[in-house]
Structures are given as C-alpha cells and as structure tokens.
Amino acid sequence: METEMESPAPPVAPRQPLSEGSEWTFELLDLYDREIARVAAHYGLDTYPNQIEVITSEQMIDAYSSVGMPVGYHHWSYGKQFLSTQKSYKRGQMGLAYEIVINSNPCIAYLMEENTMTMQALVIAHAAYGHNSFFKGNYLFRTWTDAEGILDYLVFARNFIAECEQRHGEVAVEELLDSCHALMNLGVDRYKRPAKLSMAKEQVRQAEREAYLQSQVNDLWRTLPAKQAAGQEKRAARFPSEPQENLLYFIEKNAPQLEPWQREIVRIVRKIAQYFYPQRQTQVMNEGWATFWHYTLLNHLYDEGKLTDGFMMEFLQSHTNVVYQPPYNSRFYSGINPYALGFSMFQDLRRICEHPTEEDRSWFPELAGSDWVKSLDFAMRNFKDESFVAQYLSPKLIRDLKLFAMVDDDREDKLEVTAIHDDAGYRTVRQLLAEQYNLGNREPNIQVYDVDVFGDRSLSLRHYMHDRRPLGDSTPEMLRHVARLWGYTVRIESVDQNGETRLVATSEG
C-alpha cells in the first residue's frame, strides 16, 4: 500500500490556499465545493446536482440507523441500530465522517458540523463527486434504481405504513415488517428489470392493485370439489411452473390469507430491498471509486497550490486509515476492506494506463498506454464487484496485497493453500476472489418450488446447495417468518449437486 501513498508531485504554482485554519464556514464550504466541482469537471466526472446538508452528529447517527434512507418508516430495528451506533460513537470506536450519501436526484450528501474544514472537503470530494458519479454512471444503478423517484416513494411508504399502524395496530404491522425484513434478501429480482417508482403513480395504482390482487388470489384458490382422478391429474402440474427466486414477490402475489394492506407492505419492503440491491453488489467498486476520486481531486487542488500542507497531512492521515488492509492473521482483520481493495484497483488501473510494465502489456494489452480517464470511466460504468475483480485485478496488485487462496473442505482434516501470489496462482486467486463477491455464492440460493394448491396449500421452498454448503441454524426461525406470511405450512428442502433432496425444516402455518 505504501507505494500508493507516495507524496504528490512538488507544487508548481505559488501557494494560494483557499483557507488556512481548520474551522469551516458556509462560505468556505461553498468555495471548496466549487473548486472541487471544477476539478471534477476537468476529469469528466458526470454527476447529479448535489444537495450538501450540514447536520449534527445525532442526526448523522439517525441517518446511519435508518440504513441511509433519508425518510424511513418506524420500526424497532432502527431503534436498535440507533442505540448501538450511538454507543460506539460515544466510545470513540467509530468516526462518522464519510459514507452517508443518498442515491437520489439531487444527490444528498451529509456533512457533520463537528468536522474540520479538511474533513468536510474530503467528504464533499468523496460523496458528492465520487459516489454521486458512480450512482449516475454505473449500469446496475441505471437499470435498477430510479434516483428521481426514490424520495417520493419513501415518503409514500412511510405514510402508508403509519396509516396501517393506525388502522390495524402497531403490533400487527410490526410483526409483518419483522417477517418481511427477515426475507429482504430474497425479495429481489436478479434478472428482471424493475419498473420505475414514483409516488404519484404508486398512489393511483395502489387502490386498483388492492382490489385486483385480492380477486386474483381468490381465483387461484377457488377449488372445485373435483373428482379424485381429476385432482390427481392437476397435481402433476406444479405451481409455480418454474421455481421463483423472488420469495417476497411470490408471497405478495399469491399468499392466500394476506389482506390487501399487508400485500402492500410486503411490496414496500421488496421495493426498498431492490433499491439497495445494486449497492450490495458494488461495494468494492463504489467505495474504491469514491476513494480514488477524493484522493485524486484533493491532490490536484494541492498541486495547484490551493491547499495547505497542514490540510494535506490531516487528509492523508484520514485517507490512510480508511484504506488500511490488515493482514489475515492480524487481530484487526475482519475480511477484505472494500475501500482498500477498490482504491488500490483503481490506482493500479491508472498506473497500467500511464506507466505499463511488460507484464501489464501481456495481461492488459488493451489498457496499457490508453487514456486513463476514459478507461476508468468505462470500468466504472460497466462492471459490478464480481466482474470488476475478474477483469481488472492485476498480478502486481495480487503481489502487493499478498493474496492467497485456501480451501476449507469438511471432508479434509486440514485447510489447503490452493494458490498464492505467484505465476501459477494469479489466475486462480483472481477467479476465487471474484467469486467471493458473487452474492449468489455468498447467500444460500433459495427458491419457491411448489404449492400444494389442491391439498393443504402448503408451500415448498428449495435450497440449491453450492459446494455442499448446508443452511445455518437460523433456518427454523426463518421458516416461521415465511409461514407467518404464507399462512399455511411451509417446508424447505436442500437439493445437493446430485439432485437428491433432503427435508431441512418444516413450520406449521
């Protein structure tokens, strides 16, 4: 990492810093913002307009605990989150500097009033230009989220849920939300493109949808007292005919006993899960991109003589902390730091474009010597973590980070090192690291398999095992959540690679 942190080129322009002290004022914020915007435009960063909001630390904790939604409905889990964030902040375990930026148009970024001018500038560069341009440019965000509509939709969601609490009681709504939250990760379409959200449309359609959905559901369950033989025949056709990956969607449309308002809440949770899905898929890229740009933009301003040495010292100290990657055997190790990996990869990409070695020329012939601004822009727009690592992780970076791969097989009594940072191992390490960012591998693959339409209405889920990995101990509890929504018996089976199924758990409705 040290090589990435080399001090910037000596200044050429005479020093005319924007400010000297560490105190910030609104005039200074405005001045810094304009300067950073100018440099960002120089590098061709395309962003939504920014709305930079100055808030207190308490409000920042608030924002943290509502998972970055500027307008959230009420739920105890956000209260829990608030308490634990507040505690670790008070103990000084965490800084609340970066990170809260809302993928909306205008893009909302938060500055905390306690911070110094340096930190404010850092956050402006990181959030308002780094993350912002990523939100606007990356293909996942472009297809999956609607920056124009999200704030309206969140307002709609909060009002709707508050209304339901009044009408049906807080406890009923809370139970429903608990179950929906538990299934949030299974509430996303991975392949279908979602419709755009907007409050006006949602409100108009909601009433129609209520009535229509109810009629559909009733129709599905209108079973005639058919002859036994006919029933047997019908049983052969499974419902749903294809396994469904989006469990919450399936429940919203087909759960027999849900009231219309309950279906709407399932839908709200599902929509919000979908909105955050791209963020979960691009953590390394998103943070790496933002970190790369705050580093590049502020260094550019320093080279122009607009920042003091003191400013740079404070900035670099904070920056180095953020991109620190402890080794696997350190007690600070808690997985690969997305900031560190992402930042190093973008830095490395730029190096490959500007100063390619022989090795780079053979690994990345199309990148070596190309215009780095264009190449980075292309990478930002067209990849997610998994494919980004698979495409761009270079041998040099694997050596720098000393990456190695191990396999943990429960049939073996020891762990085995499968590849390290050498000629034989580069491709394997890169491939395995990329797979580590595949959400499909990280989370169990669970699908809706069958509903006993003509029998006891029970729902069967199937867990398609990957590398023989079983489900964890939360499964019975999770099934109770599914059963609460479905209203009848729910069971889950694991299917191994040979196609053999095994019942894992059952929950009575």
Binding site: Q51, P327, S334
Partner: protein
C-alpha cells in the same frame, strides 16, 4: 446547481419513536436487566439512568445463511509463509484468524448494551407497582402554577402575536367593511351597462354612475389590509396545579443484633421505597428514626453509620414516630408512609404494645406501613403480633427478606398493584 443546506436545527430526535418501539419490544428482557442492575448499585446513585445489557441473541434479526460445512474457498490478504499445496490446521473456533468467510453480518457480540434514561429506568423498575391507598392530599399552601394555552386575546405583547389568527381577522374585517360598497358597486355597474346597452352611454345619468363607481372603488380600496383591531395574541394563563406531598418514615433497628449485612439490606429497601415515592409525589420529606432501647431522630448519614449495642424496644420508635406526626405532619395535608426494618428481635413484653400503638395511633394516620424482617431465622414475638395487625388493617404489610436478592421481589410483593 449545487445546494448547501443547513439542517442542524431540523429533525431532532427523529429516532425517538424507533427507540420507544425498541424498548417496548424488549420490555421483559429490559425489566429483568434493570432489576439485576439495581442490586449492584449504591444508594446515593440509584436515581439516574442505567446501562442495560441484554443478550444479543434475543434481539437478533435472522436471515437465511450458510451453516458450517461443505467446501468453501477463501481469499485472504497478507500471506507470509504459505506456498501453494501447504496444508494447515483449522484455526480454533472457526472464525478467528483464518476467517471462515461466513455471514458478514454475524458480528460476534454477546451482549447488546445501551443506556436507559433516568425516567425510562424508573418506569421499568417500578412497572406494575402502585402505591396502595393513594389519596393525594392537596396542599394549598404551596401554590404551583403551570402556563397553559387559553385561546386568543386582542391585547398582548408582540412576541406572542399570532400571525395566522390576525390574518384571519383581517380577511373577515375586510370582507365585512367592503360588503356594502361592493353591493352598491355591482348595482351601479349593472345600471351603467343597461344605460350603455340602451345607447345612452354619454348621458348625464351615465356620467353620474361612472363617478359613483369611481368613488365606490376608492372606498373599497381604502379598506386597510390589516388594522390594529385585527391583531390577535396567543393567550397563556397560569393554571394552578395541585401539588401533593408525602413524608416517609424510616424506622431502623440498630441494636446489637443488626450487623452490617442486615443494615445494608435495610438501607437498600428504604432507598427503593424512597425512589418509588418520588415517582408519585413532587415533595417528599424523609424522617429517619433509629432505635435500640430508646429511639432517636437522626440524619441520613448517622442513620446508616454507627452501630449501637444492647436490647431492643421497638415501641420506642413507634412512639417517637407518632409524636413527630402529631407535631409536624398533620395528616390532613400529608401522605404518610412508613417502612420499618428489623431483625425481629424485641423485648418480649414490648411486642403487644407495638401492636396496640400501630392499630390505635399510627395506622389511622398513615397511608401504608410496611414491615420487613431481615435475616431472621425464626419468626419471633414481634412477627406474631404484627400478623395480627395485618389481619386487622389493610394498610399494613409485612414480608421477610432473607438475602440481598430478595429485596426487589419483596418490594414488588409489598407494592404489587392490587386489582380492584
């Protein structure tokens, strides 16, 4: 196109609702933790917020995740000694060091710790408890007032000017003042139109009408937009609030048989009672009476500090209490509570006298009298006499405390909400 917004003053306490929801959901766990927390506290700082910790597994939000087993690949940074093909032992405990790459959300924290405010703490602590026979006696001598809203008035100071009300008044006044001229104006305009339609637009009548219209228009325009008469001020009045007060008598046996451990238990018990009373009464006097063969009123420090020796005459304390009530706390304006702690030792002939004193002089004056017997191996004469008192009066309660842990359950038992 970029905007800077100062939001510092808006949206404070946005999470307050979520916090309440959280506390409500984990009520039982929190109450249990609160009871545990208090047993480790000193008397002096009982009245403050509390750090509460509940097992985090109780409040986990489950998701589907992978369990241990199967085959998994892990990529790790910072290799030092490995080459490919090396085989190493599994790290102990799965997660440590090597990292089993499990759920990234599964942060290993066994306890979820957070702070309750003082009020929240007290609520949990005394939940479902009630003061028996709670007659709040009002005291006129201490007038307490609270500001309360009381509509709108036409006089007031500028800071309480109510803009919306004032503008409403102004609209009404403008409509009323302009109504007459408007009607006249409409008539004149109709008449003029008629004349013009008849082709007499230039006649003297028409001219007169035009002048009239002009005059009416200026009259309407002259109605002032806002007038001092329109101004309305928010009105606030002083509302007397009934204040109630209580006195609490702490009676402690300090004879030779009361050792430090027993006194400690007694002290905790008194403290609980005091806290509980602060929830119901704004003003509380505490009277400390300690006794062995003679009783004496003392201050708090002395009350718990020194230790006397010798025999025990409980009635001396009851006599003193009665005298103090008659002298300083007329029962018409004071709610009187008493708690007595003793190891049950008493001079044999004195116990019947205690019963008489209680039944005839003290209980009629008091709201509630609680007796706790601490670490007594066997109920003694005082206990038997008091059992008769209990049978005779609903204002009397008694319990035995054997260990420090009993204090809270016994306290709850004494003050449990009686279903009416």
């Amino acid at each position: 196109m970029n905007r800077l917004v100062d939001r510092r003053l808006s949206g404070k306490n946005r999470s307050a609702v979520n916090r309440q929801r959280f506390l409500r959901r984990f009520k039982t766990q929190i109450r249990k933790a609160a009871a545990e927390a208090v047993s480790g506290r000193k008397v002096a700082d009982l009245e403050r917020g509390e750090k509460i910790s509940i097992p985090s597994k109780d409040l986990s939000e489950p998701i589907f995740h992978h369990g241990p087993g199967g085959r998994r690949n892990i990529v790790l940074p910072g290799n030092r000694e490995f080459v490919s093909g090396d085989r190493v032992d599994r790290p102990e405990g799965g997660g440590g060091g090597g990292g089993s790459g499990g759920s990234p959300d599964g942060e290993g924290m066994d306890e979820f710790v957070f702070e309750l405010t003082k009020d929240e703490f007290m609520d949990y602590f005394f939940q479902d408890l009630a003061l028996p026979d709670l007659v709040k006696k009002q005291l006129a001598a201490v007038p307490e007032v609270k500001k309360a809203r009381a509509g709108f008035v036409s006089q007031g100071n500028p800071s309480s000017l109510h803009v919306v009300r004032s503008m409403k008044q102004a609209i009404g006044r403008r409509m009323a003042m302009a109504a007459g001229p408007r009607d006249a104006l409409r008539e004149a305009q109709d008449a003029l139109e008629e004349l013009v339609a008849q082709g007499r637009g230039a006649s003297p009548e028409a001219e007169a009408l035009r002048e009239e219209i002009e005059a009416l228009r200026s009259r309407i325009a002259a109605v002032p937009f806002i007038d001092t008469w329109d101004l309305r001020y928010a009105n606030r009045v002083d509302q007397p609030t009934p204040s109630s007060q209580a006195v609490m008598f702490c009676l402690l046996d300090v004879s030779g048989s009361m050792d430090e451990g027993r006194k400690n238990i007694a002290k905790r018990f008194f403290m609980l009672l005091y806290l509980f009373l602060t929830k119901s009464y704004e003003r509380i006097d505490v009277v400390f009476i300690r006794h062995h063969t003679v009783a004496k009123e003392v201050d708090e420090d002395e009350f718990f500090a020194s230790r006397e020796s010798g025999g025990t005459v409980v009635s001396s304390a009851l006599e003193l209490m009665k005298d103090i009530i008659l002298e300083r706390y007329p029962s018409a304006s004071w709610n009187i509570y008493a708690a007595q702690a003793s190891d049950g030792d008493n001079w044999e002939d004195d116990s019947p006298r205690c019963r008489e004193l209680l039944l005839q002089s003290i209980l009629p004056l008091t709201q509630y009298f609680a007796y706790v017997e601490i670490e007594a191996e066997e109920p003694q004469s005082l206990w038997h006499e008091y059992e008769r008192v209990k049978a005779a009066s609903p204002r009397f309660a008694m319990q035995r405390i054997l260990t420090l842990e009993d204090i809270y359950p016994v306290f709850r038992e004494l003050f449990r909400k009686k279903v009416a």
